[in-house]
Symmetry: C2
Subunit: 337 residues, 2 copies
């Protein structure tokens, strides 16, 4: 039997750890309460299975960082479970806030159980994320557990700041490109930075190494978002094939759109006239490209990617886990345009 | 100048501590984000002032317990701020879940800023509650701070369990009286129990004393809720005067109502026919009284009150703070019928 890679070993261990924590929500008359969260995690209900769980990238980043920094990754399992539960809390609430009926092809929690229960289920999942992290006390001691808890709470606050900006931008016609970064920093990069920082913290590596791992996560998050914005307009599935899924149709204020607005050219004129139809997507994406938004976004993503990989190099990840961490980053940063 | 009582000294200190923590939500472009929370706390916006802040009973319980157990109450300020912020997080989300337009006479956060921003402001306030508690590290050391954090997270989970039950009861016609206690235990008593337990924890008193303080808070919470249910039907303002505010009109499944449903008499027949009109309130309250629901609720409240005061006695609160703690409990338990 060929030996399993780190990633292959980690994924089932994280699921088990999260399921164990979710059991805290059980009790008399609480079957449905537990069910809402197990459903959202992709474990129960119609459509449950690998497609419904998501890729669990965040816990992998925690555990691979811990191992690459020289510690047994099992010690960081509580942190891995915590970041994934936190991510899923934010998805439950985001889906209500964005009025999204579907998540990974399944009805969202609020469409199945109503908004009041969905708000409460999100609150419970957020609490379980922190309780999951507290289990670090057993694997890493009370001081490390407390420091980790501080990191995660501060990350949560960044998340809510980013989310506030995102919601408030929806109703604003004009937006400065400078306002893009605080939002993305809070909504995406803060949690990815917390993943690599927590992995490093548990490993007990030096402060400078921990900072390098944190920077790696932070820039990885920013690069990931810039690429996501690029794919949202010029990706295979959004450009010619499925125009309905284009960010131009949903009206998302992504980086290329903000660049186009700033340029004050043909694109901005059309954008300001109101919602973009599916039949306009190809032409408008082309116009945006002519005005330089595609190159600009690509360059920005490359620049962030370079910063991420430089920070990772500085952290000096070691061994097989170090290689898998580098591979994971490259995979995330080389998604197909 | 006459010396200020403990309570008089504590109240402004708690406000200051909470305001300090709320400042963590400030930053570029975040004025409105900070404002939503400061508004809810009663500090800013139209109608701000003492009437809008609430009574801050929970932090008083924390601080008086800490002092009555022999420690300088200033050490427990982070815990006092935390429980009040946590309470207010739950109010922001409850108001959305219950579709309540007003809170303490002012528009609720969701009516002023919309549901998406209100959900997010609640998430932020919950996070600030935990960050407030982390400041215990400075006044009580890292082990105590971590233990306190564990207590508060578990309390949060109880809150969401109670809230789940409460929301799910709304759509259920039949309800067993036994289902009342888990809901009230989660929604009300768990946080009051955490208040007195946290105060005792910070004081460093014995484990048995801490347990007694916790029991005191728990039964105080249950007694408080039973009394609240009594006042919701036979209170001065609900019985004859302002029938519109009666729990019979809102349809709340309170303890007397559940007792009446169990009795299967005239009350239950009428209740099952649908919403109660304002003109029916007096007659229906009288019917419920004849069937024994008032006596039962009163006896239940008295029983819980006895348990609370017995636990407090067992905890042996000392000095002036001990007296004020006893006075506060008596004040809460002797609200006018």
């Amino acid at each position: 039997m060929p030996e399993l890679s780190f990633t292959q070993q980690m994924l089932p261990a994280v699921e088990l750890e999260m399921q164990h924590v979710l059991d805290l929500s059980q009790g008399d008359h609480l079957d449905e309460f537990h069910m809402m969260m197990a459903y959202h995690m992709g474990w129960k209900g119609e459509g449950a299975g690998p497609k419904a769980t998501g890729k669990r990238i965040r816990p992998l980043l925690v555990l691979l960082t811990c191992a690459a920094a020289g510690e047994d990754w099992h010690c960081a399992l509580p942190a891995g479970a915590a970041v994934e539960l936190l991510h899923n809390f934010s998805l439950i609430h985001d889906d209500i806030e964005d009025n999204s009926p579907l998540r990974r092809g399944r009805p969202t929690v609020w469409t199945r159980w109503g908004i009041p229960q969905a708000i409460n289920a999100g609150d419970a999942m957020l609490t379980l994320a922190h309780l999951a992290l507290h289990r670090l006390q057993e694997t890493a001691g009370v001081s490390t557990a407390f420091e980790a808890s501080n990191i995660l709470q501060k990350t949560c606050l960044e998340l809510t700041k980013g989310q506030y900006l995102d919601i408030s931008y929806e109703t604003r016609q004009e937006l400065d490109m400078l306002e893009y970064w605080p939002m993305v920093s809070g909504k995406t990069a803060a949690l990815i930075a917390a993943c690599t920082e927590l992995g490093a913290l548990v490993s007990g590596c030096t402060a400078s190494s921990r900072e390098a791992y944190r920077d790696f996560g932070y820039y990885l998050g920013l690069a990931f978002q810039a690429l996501d914005d690029l794919l949202g307009i010029w990706g295979d599935s959004t450009h010619t094939g499925k125009s309905a899924e284009s960010d131009l149709v949903s009206g998302k204020k992504s980086l290329p759109v903000l660049y186009g607005l700033m340029s004050e050219g043909e694109f901005s004129k059309r954008w300001r006239q109101g919602p973009v139809g599916i039949d306009e997507v190809e032409g408008l994406a082309h116009q945006l490209e002519i005005e330089g938004a595609r190159d600009y976004t690509q360059e920005t993503a490359s620049c962030m990617t370079d910063s991420a990989l430089k920070a990772l190099q500085q952290a000096q990840p070691s061994g097989e886990a170090g290689q898998e961490l580098t591979d994971l980053a490259n995979k995330l940063l080389n998604r197909k345009i």
